[in-house]
Symmetry: C2
Subunit: 804 residues, 2 copies
């Protein structure tokens, strides 16, 4: 356990001279921010501003930027005074010009991008590239040094900040939360993250709520409620708010410096108390409320309309600076109000007395290694899969709970990486419900509130994070991964849609960051979707939605992977594989209920590595023999039904040659030119034939299979059955029957697709229909499945077993 260095304790208050320097630094950042939004050329305004110097398309967000720059300049002072390690999470990410400006001022920008040097020419390029084709985007994107948070879609700043702080005991994550963003659901819930942060082992988050009063075209809620309510709200959230309010720069500098000193003193005190054992209760963490005008220091009015301190400052306050000389004059005098000659030397470099204000080396917020977490990433130590293999003497003869086996594996992951403290399991109160509770043998759930004697697996030192908010689970994990650690997110399948848009943003981040050489790879975001659509016994229709994988499949092939392991050993293999990958998002779908086991660990390895394979023992076609019909399946429940359907066909139409193909890696179905996991055409055709009917039992919405296979030779013969959005609180078998993906419907479909089987075929159809009706009657009378369905085992031998 790290002990705080005394350097983190209070420095003396800054002198007026020092504050005057900070003001100049701030002006430099503001100048550079405006320049990025407006200028193509003439960066230092050493010539009169002409139309040709102004960009033809003015894009960007000024309103939030001066506040972000103000915070940055003051954090620089605190970092230097205390030798603190600080990461800056910029909630209003569209204040991107501010982040770029500051990292250029401190030198990190030019180190990373040597073609943008620290001089007038560099400044010209810096301005030109912003929001310019082939240049950089307008947000605090992966391209922005020091950023782990894009802020394009608002709401996730604070939860990312907490993710970064966990298990980084020396880190302070300063997180600017915009008052617009504060209205979102994710952000509103994020304040309670402090109930899960342990000052003894974790870093600190310093939220800075930036009340600049307005969104795009409206006031913000938090800026207009009374100060009494505002204070109460943050006390209620577990914080001690410090208010910094005004618009006079000199007064504001003094207030802000004092507020940051108070906050950092308080953080240092909390650390000392907790790490020396004096305190153990959750502390009341400091936070800062910074109330400053939107578009502060910008034009007060344009065309007679209020701009500074109003929503008109949100994007580009002077709209027609290229076409209108009057507007251009406003822009010029605005930029000159920062007095660039007082800030930059002849060559366009920041003057030395200002450059000296920035921290050095990795203390610069643009260069803090936690903000490029791949650099700090250590490989996760993974247990031997063999130690966790489930014994499968013969396919379908034994049952097991796949996620329970995974829980034991994850328990070992916690043990093996206990010292590294770089693995977390997150989930919305479902670790036990999802049957991963073996992990509690190695660790607890983290909990900073009171703990009762009868509480179970709850402690301040736990590494399992449970809160009833998928947003927090996702956001914590993203922040944790982006700062170089590992994790796993287990979730009810239907409710992962709650974070569809967060998934989007993370996928977009990865797509861009993996193209940036200087960004070191980060661990993949791994989802286990369980308690899935087919087994929602307690909950019913509202809990049934297998569509997240459809959403995932829209993203760049480089980034996403989707797995449907059919049993425990294959789940173990897939999960183990995913934990070793980086820069990806892996989605694993697997049930938690007792289910037949099919593959030994050796078979599971071969089968999962292949992505899809023939289960010879299940079909009647001999190995290498062309079948009459292919029964394909993806997903544990559909696999069970497909194997059972194969059994029914074997019983009723023994002459028909059937083949069972199981698909684990859904992306194997896609054409190889669409996805790197796509099976080569000959391999695909070898599995699915080029002209035989394929009855495909799929876990989710059938359309996804059509969409993935539409380029395949035999696509016209693939008949997919899956979830049809039919469901309620009912028995497991009734669920598959409602959606017509049960063994009887599958066998009936196979017969319908085969050449006419004559009298035997007719008899088989009649028999299947009778059995289906029998089951329906039994279920509605008894409220449970017929024992021979729910306890069904594969009744045949498996001499030719193979998992390839």
């Amino acid at each position: 356990m790290t002990h705080p260095s005394s350097a983190n304790f209070s420095a003396v208050a800054p002198s007026d001279a020092e504050l005057a320097l900070i003001d100049r630094y701030w002006r430099a950042a503001n100048y550079l921010s405006v320049g990025q939004i407006y200028l193509l050329d003439n960066p230092l305004l050493r010539e009169p501003l002409e139309a040709a110097h102004v960009k033809p398309r003015l894009l960007g967000h000024w309103g939030t930027t001066p506040g972000l720059n103000f915070v940055y300049a003051h954090l620089n002072r605190v970092i230097k005074a205390r030798d603190a390690s600080v990461v800056y999470v910029c909630g209003p990410g569209h204040g991107g010009p501010g982040m770029v400006a500051n990292t250029w001022l401190e030198g990190t920008y030019s180190e990373i991008y040597p073609d943008i040097p620290e001089d007038a020419e560099g400044m010209r390029k810096l301005f030109r590239q912003f929001s310019f084709p082939g240049g950089i985007p307008s947000h605090a994107a992966p391209e922005t040094p020091g950023s782990i948070h894009e802020g394009g879609e608002l709401g996730y700043a604070l939860v990312h900040a907490y993710g970064a702080a966990f298990d980084n005991p020396d880190l302070v994550v300063a997180c600017v939360v915009g008052d617009g963003e504060a209205e979102t659901g994710a952000l509103a819930a994020s304040w309670h993250s402090n109930k899960f942060l342990n000052p003894e082992r974790d870093g600190a988050v310093l939220p800075i709520l930036h009340l600049n009063g307005y969104k795009i075209a409206n006031p913000t809620v938090l800026a207009r409620i009374s100060e009494e309510e505002l204070r109460a709200l943050f006390v209620g959230y577990g914080h001690e708010p410090i208010f910094v309010e005004g618009d006079d720069p000199a007064a504001m500098h003094r207030q802000m410096a004092a507020a940051l000193d108070t906050a950092f003193d308080s953080i240092a005190a909390i650390r000392e108390e907790h790490r020396s054992g004096v305190a153990s209760q959750r502390p009341r963490w400091p936070m800062i409320v910074l109330r400053s005008p939107k578009g502060w220091t910008g034009p007060k009015e344009v065309d007679g309309k209020k701009v500074e301190g109003f929503w008109r400052a949100h994007q580009v306050p002077v709209a027609n600076a290229r076409g209108d000389a009057g507007h251009r004059a406003v822009l010029e005098s605005w930029m000159k109000s920062y007095d660039p000659d007082d800030l930059f030397d002849e060559a366009g470099r920041l003057k030395p007395e200002l450059a000296a204000l920035a921290p050095k080396g990795e203390r610069r917020m643009g260069a803090n290694p936690h903000a490029n977490g791949g650099r700090l990433r250590r490989e996760l130590v993974r247990p031997a899969l063999e130690d966790h293999a489930v014994d499968v003497p013969e396919p379908g003869k034994t049952t097991g709970e796949a996620t329970r086996a995974l829980g034991r594996y994850l328990e070992d992951v916690f043990r093996l990486n206990a010292e590294a403290r770089n693995f977390r399991l997150v989930g919305p109160d479902e670790t036990a419900s999802n049957r991963l509770d073996a992990v509690f043998g190695a660790t607890d759930r983290v909990w900073m509130e009171g703990i009762e004697p009868y509480d179970v697996s709850l402690s301040q030192d736990g590494r399992v994070m449970e809160v009833l908010s998928e947003h927090l689970c996702q956001g914590w994990l993203e922040g944790y991964l982006l700062t170089g650690r590992h994790g796993f997110f287990s979730c009810y399948e239907a409710f992962i849609h709650i974070v569809d848009s967060m998934f989007n943003q993370h996928a977009k981040w990865l797509k861009v960051s993996r193209q940036l050489q200087w960004r070191a790879p980060v661990s993949s975001l791994n989802y286990l979707l369980t308690s899935h659509v087919w087994r929602q016994d307690h909950n019913g229709f509202s809990h049934q939605d297998p569509g997240f994988v459809d959403h995932v499949a829209n993203k760049k092939a480089d980034v996403v992977r989707i797995y449907f392991p059919p049993d425990a050993n294959s789940l173990l293999h897939v999960a183990d594989h995913c934990l070793a990958t980086y820069d990806r998002i892996n989605v694993i779908v697997a049930g938690k209920q007792p289910a037949p086991q099919w593959l030994t660990m050796a078979e599971a390895k071969a089968h999962c590595a292949a992505g899809a394979g023939i289960w010879d023992w299940a079909g009647t076609a001999a190995r290498g023999e062309e079948p009459d019909v292919v029964l394909a399946c993806a997903g544990d429940v559909p696999t069970l039904e497909a194997v059972a359907a194969a059994g029914l066909l074997r019983e009723l139409l023994p002459e028909v040659k059937t083949r069972l193909v199981n698909v684990v890696d859904l992306m194997a179905l896609q054409a190889p030119e669409h996805h790197p996991h796509g099976l080569a055409t000959d391999r695909f055709d070898a599995l699915f034939t080029t002209d035989k009917p394929v009855v495909f039992a799929y876990h989710g919405y059938p359309m996804l299979i059509h969409r993935l296979t539409y380029k395949r030779t035999n696509h016209g013969n693939i008949h997919v059955r899956g979830y049809q959005e039919e469901g309620t609180t009912t028995t497991p078998f009734d669920m598959v029957v409602l959606n017509e993906v049960d063994r009887f419907h599958l066998a009936l479909e196979a017969i319908a697709r085969l050449p006419d089987q004559g009298a035997a075929g007719k008899a088989a159809v009649a028999d299947l229909r009778r059995r289906l009706a029998e089951h329906r009657t039994y279920i509605s009378e008894h409220g449970e499945d017929l024992p021979e369905i729910s306890g069904w085992i594969w009744p045949y031998g498996s001499a030719a077993r193979t998992g390839d």
Copy 2:
């Protein structure tokens, strides 16, 4: 404006005798709740409990239920005492047995479902059907009388409650918020809804935070923070909390009765002050914090483990009541502890002195007409489309902003329905940004905080609702629609994914409710997705995601519709149509930027009604003539590019017969057996041919078009171009080029798919490549699109114009 009736003011505190009756009523509801979870038969326990009486599968959630029943019983008293109109929103919806029990006790259940009468046989059926195949689901679902909220996916109770309260001045929406649910993002943000509720014209929401302490397997955050923080939090949220805490029923009854009297008195006082003009500031609304044990009155321990007051009470506290005699004895004594013979008469009816406690008629919460809002729904008065038509003298010769035209139409909608007060426009701070700001000619944004003299279109009486939370926009609108009103949600396309899961739940609600005869149809939920993927000039990659429609397309065909109107008149027609529909979710995707206009209003009507059609003027194939290639398009930007590609082909390869097909109604592409809007095969083939190449320029992810058309004759020849997840902050034309859906790529693809065009073809390809390169160079040098691209107009005549 309605004035409060004095009957809503304080009644005298209930006597001990009255409270004793309430306690018995509560016990009856608890008894019926347990019975639903456990019993197949022997409902009144008049025989000794045997295994055969117990359900084989025990499903349901006991933990929250006694608290819900407690609230219900006390609300009944208040409703009667004050003749109040109250709707009960049950956040912990899996307390479904409680809602069913109470509506059965008050008689509404048997009125709606006469096969479940109010007697012993009815009770037996009531028990049996719960979570039973063919019966009712376990949540407060559409099947549950009085419910407008399922509560399967947690987080939306409070926002639904507010939606129900808007414009219902006499209504009180009592909303039980579970402490698990309170951890979600959507709920955390919902508390601020009171900033948008005007007591002068709106009803009241009475939140009842139910702290029963535990989720599935964890304590809850709000139940374990200090009372000081808890109180501060709700004061911060703008409430005056009233605490009801304990576990002794008698004391709790007294506290709860007093708390509700205080709360209803406070609501009555607020109404009177605001409606008489005495007060105008946002009031501090009452709320109740109810702290009671989870599984209250259930078994204290089972198998030596704590159950009551702990998370083990969450679902089924006595797990093996059928198989284990000991467990069965626990169940029997638990149920008998409610003393059923003291509650129900010989015939199994609730005893008359208890039945008298329930309100009568529509005052019963299960029968409140607002909870079956279709019954109160009045048709929206819609303006004449002709009054808003954009003049289109010739296709492609004029430009217009589609959403601006829609804004003027919606302005009229507000005017025409001003008196009915039954229409709201919601959006996350984007009404003006999305160019719908003409609506501010008719109404303002609603705002209950202070209003500054320089604020714009902001007032307490506004009917536009803007908050930076898609969750709140969606939830308010759902609540508003389900209580019988109309609305429209305008949103940035990318960020509508934030409410993917809320969309799911609403679609599921509609799928079920439209099958229930007694549920009257409610107005459709209408989305306008704008500021779409192709025009995110200020924002870039993070704001680019057209995948919501993919998500929507997974839902039941009866429920969903997706429209891509290509211009202003078609947008007007589609929006007008959507506003007239019911029980659906309509998604309209349309840009806000100036764009070419193609169709007169008459043409737009015919074209939109057909769903898709040939634009003869754009192609070179004569009407009725088989083309060599079809250029298809859906979406405004792809339509522009496809028309331009047709122009390029006309110029470069005048011998090639092209046909342009525009698709407005995306579901027209699906096979008619998959969607009611699916074009008949002959009509589809007449548009897309049976064997000619089709180059399809699509707004979103290309796979959706493949998936929708995979059953079509000519599917193998459909080559789709759309968003490939490539984007950044760049020019509009560069965006289409990055994704290869620009006019040049489309024309090149058409040529590649045509039979060899010889030298002319080669020359055309070279020319197209040259122009493409020229544009790329120009863009990267100038930072804007070549004027002849950005100002492009259709350079040909249109003698044969048609919009069919």
